[in-house]
Amino acid sequence: MTTHGIKWFWYASPQTFFPLAGTIARLCGSLSLVFLLAGLYVAFFVAPTDATQGEAYRIIFIHVPAAWMSMFLYVVMAFWAALGLAMNTRLSAMMARALAPTGALFTFIALWTGSLWGKPTWGTWWVWDARLTSELILLFLYFGFMALQASIDDRRRSDRAGALLALVGVVNVPIIYYSVQWWNTLHQGASVSFTRAPSMAATMFLGMILMALAFWMYSIAVALTRVRRLIVEDER
């Protein structure tokens, strides 16, 4: 390849990627801390108390960004998995492998904080709402991905099998989401609605964005650290 411009594949080799990943991981780790502190400050001291939900709503600052990340990370994971299958690059498969636990963690956090939020506002820990259910199924998909990769000893086979599963999963996610949504609207009325008041205070939004950025940076830092560990493991 003698094209000009960026050498796309330069960092596709684990050897060259290793130091870069370390730098980015450290940078993103510190940025994550900064955003986290700023976000928490806004969340607890700046954002106004909600008129209807009182102080309990403040869990939104963790809940919503975690839910965003949980879904987004699955797509990112599938992207790396597809790249790994198509290009046969080891690093892509490592990225997919490294992202899965973080994605599962955020899915779990979203479910956990959601149920903590649900108790004071809806009076129940859990409802079979469409979003809750599809989030739960997403968690199962993450677990399936990790379990499959963990149970195959041969690294190459496990990478490729996991990648295929991630792709099948990502095709299914919208189908599952819509079917669950439809199921919910069929069986239970709008007893619980997720739609909040449309006018969200600007500071609330700011807090959420800050927390989302913090989670982003955290995901990048953790995933890259995990990739570094995988590279070292491979070299041994």
């Binding site: 998909l141 379990a147 499959l148 086979r157 490729r160 295929l164 599963l165 079917s179 069929l186």
Partner: protein
């Protein structure tokens, strides 16, 4: 495909086991929940569908295992016939021996659950459209977990989340008909799922088989 059917028919006990499993699971619910006809009637579609899901999953492990063990699978991978087609034929045969009997025996369960007779048609059609989807999707999982330790449990972890739409649509169709509404929408969506699954999953399964037998 004829070979697959022949092989399956030579071992009727395998077919019977999955079928018996379906019947037993469906019979356990009244024992656990209570036998009030009113309640049974309301849970019947869900129970029948969940039992069908579990039963279909149970028999998936055998889909490629025997061929993998005696080396036939490698011949298929090397052979001239497109692997996707072979997989599709194997999956279809799997459905004929595991899915179709469920469809046929489901009305019996429905009688046990005191389901109104007018719902039998919808139940049968929903199972007829839905169970092949289970076979097609499950084949991917069976191919991925081929030859792994603890493959059975892993298979369920991989496949069951993907079965959710089929369950919702299938049980939903019966519930809709029960409520006096038209179930056509759900059945059409199930049919759409079936067409998509039949068109795409054999290739995914073929790819998974290639990965698994490298």
């Amino acid at each position: 495909m004829r070979r697959e059917l022949l092989l399956a028919l030579r071992r009727p006990s395998d077919v019977a086991t999955a079928l018996l499993f379906f019947v037993i699971v469906a019979s356990l619910f009244p024992l656990g929940i209570g036998a009030e006809p009113e309640r049974l009637r309301s849970i019947a579609p869900g129970v029948i569908w969940v039992a069908a899901l579990l039963s279909a999953m149970l028999s998936l492990g055998r889909l490629f295992a025997a061929d993998h063990a005696d080396g036939t699978l490698e011949q298929m991978l090397l052979g001239a016939a497109p692997l996707g087609l072979i997989v599709a034929a194997k999956t279809a045969a799997h459905w004929l021996v595991s899915g179709l009997p469920l469809v046929l025996i489901a009305p019996l369960i429905a009688v046990q659950y005191d389901v109104a007779a007018r719902l039998y048609g919808v139940l049968a059609v929903s199972l007829l459209l839905g169970t092949p989807v289970l076979s097609f999707i499950g084949a991917i999982g069976a191919a991925l977990t081929l030859g792994l330790r603890g493959g059975g449990v892993l298979l369920s972890l991989l496949v069951l989340p993907l079965y959710v739409p089929v369950l919702i649509l299938g049980a939903g169709a019966v519930a809709m008909a029960d409520a006096g509404l038209a179930a056509g929408g759900q059945l059409e969506l199930l049919g759409a799922l079936l067409i998509m699954a039949a068109a795409f999953t054999p290739w995914a399964t073929a790819a998974a088989l290639r990965i698994s037998s490298e």
